[in-house]
């Protein structure tokens, strides 16, 4: 215990990133000295980052990407969870939709960009639709599997107590799958972020992905790297927040710490 909280061990996770940054700094400076302007050292990226943070473009683009990813995930998750519960509880519904799911699911979500652009034009709605599509499938499949693994005894309890279908889904199945639901949600969050940034890079002139593209196209490698690092930090922060939320929910649901 004392060993774990000593200052040296607290610093330990930071050693490798610091070394990598230093190596990158050295390599980029050397490349610049040799006449290449394709790379910028982390120190220049940090200055570019401060500039973007001060002029507000950083926060605006971040809010756009995160907001769109969150809304798209919400849409995909609500539909995926609802559909997954139905498919998990009803063998008939699962048989009925198996073929459609297996045909639609492998479509890469990015391949929907042309279609979404035709239907929704540039902007939030197009990106929302693609994020929702991309997150819907893993949520659907994982929730369906989770429902299948709910202890049959709990379903029997709901039968002998005479719970309605709705109550069985809300009060038995949904709480029973919460731990697996969090695994699905964390996957969904990662997918949503990746797809949102990809759509912005490829098509939607908004958000962090587009900002990074503009930086690249205007030969500003420092700003481009600043965005890249920032996207990584945002992704890390979101995942950490999800883990905290998961622990808190688990405690509220009677898990002993």
């Amino acid at each position: 215990m004392t060993e774990r909280s000593s200052p040296v061990s607290l610093l330990r996770p930071w050693i490798l990133p610091a070394l990598l940054l230093a190596a990158f700094e050295w390599y980029a400076r050397r490349a610049a000295a040799l006449g290449s302007d394709a790379l910028a050292p982390p120190s220049a990226a940090a200055r570019a980052f401060a500039g973007a943070a001060l002029d507000g473009s950083l926060w605006q683009a971040t809010a756009f990407t995160l907001g769109t990813a969150a809304l798209g995930l919400l849409l995909g998750a609500v539909l995926g969870i609802g559909g997954g519960i139905v498919l998990g509880l009803s063998r008939r519904a699962a048989d009925l939709s198996l073929l459609s799911i297996e045909v639609l699911r492998p479509v890469p979500s990015v391949a929907l960009i042309p279609l979404a652009m035709l239907m929704f034009g540039f902007g939030v709605r197009m990106e929302l639709a693609i994020v929702a599509f991309a997150t819907f499938w893993p949520m659907l499949i994982l929730v369906q599997a989770a429902v299948r693994q709910v202890d049959p005894r709990l379903l029997e309890v709901s039968r002998v107590l005479g719970l309605s279908r709705r109550d069985r889904a809300w009060k038995i199945v949904l709480p029973a799958i919460v731990p697996r639901l969090f695994v699905a949600l964390r996957l969904g969050v990662a997918v949503a972020l990746v797809v949102a940034v990809t759509v912005e890079i490829a098509a939607n002139p908004n958000g962090m992905g587009y900002a990074m593209m503009i930086a690249q196209q205007s030969f500003d490698p420092a700003l481009m790297l600043a965005w890249l690092g920032w996207i990584g930090i945002v992704g890390y922060a979101i995942n950490a927040a999800m883990q905290r939320l998961q622990r808190r929910v688990a405690r509220r649901m009677g898990a002993t710490p």
Binding site: D151, R153, L154, E156, V157, S158, R159, V160, L161, G162, L163, S164, D167, K171, I172, P175, A176, V178, M253, G254, T256
Partner: protein, 264 residues
Amino acid sequence: MNAREIQAPEVLSVDRVAIRYDGREVLSPTSFEVARGEFVCIVGPSGCGKTTLLRAASGLVAPSGGEVRRRGLPMTGPSREVAFVFQDYGRALLPWRTVEGNVSLALEAAGVPAGLRAPRIAEALDKVGLGRHARKFPLQLSGGMQQRAQIARCLAQKPELMMMDEPFGALDALTRQGLQDELARLVREDGLTVLFVTHDLEEAIYLGDRVIALQADPGPGRPSMARMIAVDIPRPRDQLTTKEHPEFLRLRRELFTFIAQGHD
């Protein structure tokens, strides 16, 4: 009230109920009746089909042959009038709900308005002595207390009939005896009607007004044997004196001999 109900006042009639799985006979045709306020035990070795019989009698599985009737009317599925206590309390309680939340589930299922639930939950928990543990989660309780919580959930239903599937089978001997006595007291005070499955002969005789003994699977083509005995031992019963009662010993010998016949 129709004529059929007057003719058949039994709370439960099991009429030549048989169960087959994949062509294999799990339970040969079995008939018995349970009257209001009666405590009937089904006892037999593992594999004799006693749990299957209980599940058929409560509508959880449909019999392959015969019919189950409640107050003379055919039963087609589980009913809120029939409560079921599972042996594996750890799996039958919702781990994410507190003890009172678990009891509340029965009232929510029955459509009791939220404002009226609290007193009924408290009443059910007091009956099983869990009043002080209402806010705890099942995993924070011992096995015996978890089983009490499940019994409280069934009591809150105010069922006409309580089905119990080896409810004390997983508990240690002392806890089991304590819960047997508490169950006997609840039955006396509330006039419960109980159908109780156990593999423990002494438990069956100690608790029951009547005992149905089943023999193990007799092999294909031969009907499994069932015997019904009445337990004429005065109540309230007591762990020591009742189990030394000459009638208790005689019944124990009779049932033991009967069940052992299937094991030759």
